[in-house]
Amino acid sequence: MATKTFIEAIRDTLAEEMRRDESVIVLGEDVGKKGGVFLATDGLWAEFGDDRVIDTPLTESMIVGASIGAAMNGIRPVAEIQFADFIFPAFNQLVSEAARMRYRSNNKFGLAMTVRAPYGGGVHGALYHSQSVEAFFSHVPGLKVVIPSTPYDAKGLLRSAIRDEDPVLFFEHKKMYRSVRGDVPETDFIVPLGKAAITHPGTQITVIAYGLMAHYALETADIVADKGISVEVVDLRTLRPLDKKTVLGSVKKTGKCLIVYEDNRFLGYGAEIAAIVAEEAFDFLDGPVTRIAGPDVPGVPYNHVLEDWFMVNPEKIAAGIRKLAAY
């Protein structure tokens, strides 16, 4: 079995899906000859040419809007938004159009399309190259939102996303592109959308996370294990539709729930998890449902001291776990 970086898994998957299905195209800014600013599409233009690997003008709304139209006419577009921070010009096309097309047409129109975007901080990207945008889109019925944390999941989930009959937002933590490696089988496996994974079984505290935070949660589980705290890590993998069964099953077993996310704390994705756990696992709880999340400032500041201050890390998560364990 080959060991791949996170971005290699994504690049391989794009190429393989394009070979498998000639209706799959890639479009976005700098995705062609350059292969994308992170090189996620490197080599695709050379193999598949101008028609299927399209360098667009700097027009995010058009990238998504034209993907919607192309999806109506026999194409499976995989659009790249260069940074998740730049997705907002396409917000209307995603929320008013892509998310609602099937519902508003009573199932007459469906949009098999994927929008990929790198997100997240810790890479000296400051306010406009570090954002987490998943909460905006997870709020919207009609959009599927995926955030993988391993090369294996990236491959299996991206295959599922591209083959899905509805719009999928596929967010990739940019700090993981080259820092995360893992085994990826050569087989045509998929990871189904809407299924979380228990990546570290434990008995005393459930830690729920996704993306880079799923790695930090695993690291932290090992740190606190030395202190005798048994943590179960749930990697959500798909934020919407949410795998409530796995989340609630774990919390009912451990009785304690900590949710970790990098986005601003207030109304972040973890707020919905907290609400669901409070509503549906109340009788099983031995402590308050708690959150470790980014501070409520409008963006990640640039200076490295300030960025460190912003970012959730294993130390901060460990402090939260100890506090909750002692409750």
Binding site: R102, R240, G249, E280
Partner: protein, 381 residues
């Protein structure tokens, strides 16, 4: 191309000769009669919508009165079996030209379950039909033109020979999506045509406050495509301009921007009182640009629309509109038990909310339907 897949009108073959007028646009007399019927049917359906609204039968109307001639003339060279159209909320005549019926329009007005556009989910005016290659429409304006651009992109990639057209008002032409879409269509010479139906008003704001130039069409130059202005009250002028653009697009020569100068005969919608911002003299002067009597007179003078044919067409229209009204009035409302359907292609039971009914409105019926009690069992387990 133009004679294919159009709704039959009942106009007999005995009239299918060729007047000078028909010959001048390379159509048959029968084509012209069917065009007239579509224009007049759109007007009749529209007028019926207002009657039903004022009678309290339907809550909302957004009208296409004054736009019908341009819409029929421009959509006529398209092939609804092959090509695609992304219309806007005044596009009743466009939709009829692409094969929707009076019934399809009026069931949407009543928002009945059988409404082909949305099954009663959307406001009236948001028409769409995959069978008729009409893209489902939303309310934020101009978004749909990017969908047509994407359809054209797919047509180019797949080499299907399709043309994609989209229409919007001159107010919507100021949206950023229009710039992004025309620019991309221009770069890639896509088989795409944008129609700007300029009726002079964006709800209440006159064109003098929307545009620093007389015509939207001159913007086409900035996108490397032809920009054409046509008199939207002249059906055949609209047809000719669209035919050139469609043929050009189909030959792979790229996009066109067509601006049709039309009139808006009604308020913006049934909730608008246009006398508040339009002078009585202006409104009184509109009738000379009304495409329905103008086209009728043109066809009568050309000897195409005889009294006998006109009487038959008018009787057919009245019967269709009456039947559609009756049908829509009696059709069933959508069932609320279906309202969770089609968020996605498949059901999504993993998010089923708790069903113990703490005022969340689900009252024991989860997303997975009345039989899905798994979450409730889990929750109280």
């Amino acid at each position: 191309m133009a004679t294919k897949a159009k709704p039959p009108t009942g106009a007999g073959s005995k009239t299918a000769g060729r007047s000078d007028l028909a010959a001048s646009v390379d159509l048959t007399d029968d084509d012209l009669i069917r065009m007239y019927k579509t224009v007049a049917l759109a007007r009749a359906v529209d007028e019926r919508m207002w009657v039903l609204n004022r009678a309290g039968r339907i809550p909302f109307v957004i009208s296409g009165q004054g736009h019908e001639g341009a819409q029929v003339g421009i959509a006529w060279p398209m092939d609804p079996k092959l090509d695609w159209f992304a219309p806007f909320y005044r596009s009743i005549a466009t939709c009829l030209t692409f094969g929707m019926t009076a019934r399809d329009i009026l069931t949407a007005q009543y928002a009945k379950a059988i409404d082909r556009s949305s099954g009663g989910r959307q406001m009236p005016g948001h028409y769409g039909s995959i069978d008729n290659h009409l893209v489902s429409l939303s309310s934020p304006v101009a978004t749909q033109m990017l969908h047509a651009v994407g359809i054209a992109l797919a047509a180019k990639i797949r080499k299907t020979g399709q043309v994609a057209m989209s229409s919007l008002g001159e107010g919507s032409a100021n949206q950023g999506d229009v710039h992004e879409g025309l620019n991309f269509a221009g770069v890639h010479k896509l088989p795409f045509i944008l129609i700007v139906e300029n009726n002079g008003y964006a709800i209440s704001v006159p064109v003098s406050k929307q545009l620093p130039v007389k015509d939207v069409a001159i913007r086409a130059e900035g996108y490397g495509m032809p920009g054409v202005v046509v008199d939207g009250s002249d059906v055949l002028e609209c047809y000719k301009a669209a035919k050139i653009a469609v043929d050009r697009a189909r030959r792979g020569e790229g996009s066109t921007l067509i601006e049709a100068k039309v009139i808006r005969l009604t308020g913006h919608s049934s909730d608008d009182q246009q006398t508040k911002y339009r002078d009585p003299e202006e409104l009184a002067g509109l009738s000379s640009k009304d495409p329905v009597p103008k086209f009728r007179k043109q066809l009568q003078e050309a000897g195409v629309l005889t009294d006998e044919i006109l009487a038959r067409v008018e009787a057919e229209i009245k019967a269709e509109v009456d039947e559609a009204t009756e049908y829509s009035e009696n059709a069933a409302d959508p069932d609320p038990r279906t309202a969770m359907k089609w968020v996605f292609a498949e059901d999504w039971p993993s998010e089923t909310p708790p069903s113990w009914g703490f005022g969340d409105g689900t009252e024991g019926e989860g997303h997975g339907g009345p039989d899905d009690t798994s979450a409730a069992e889990d929750a109280v387990g």
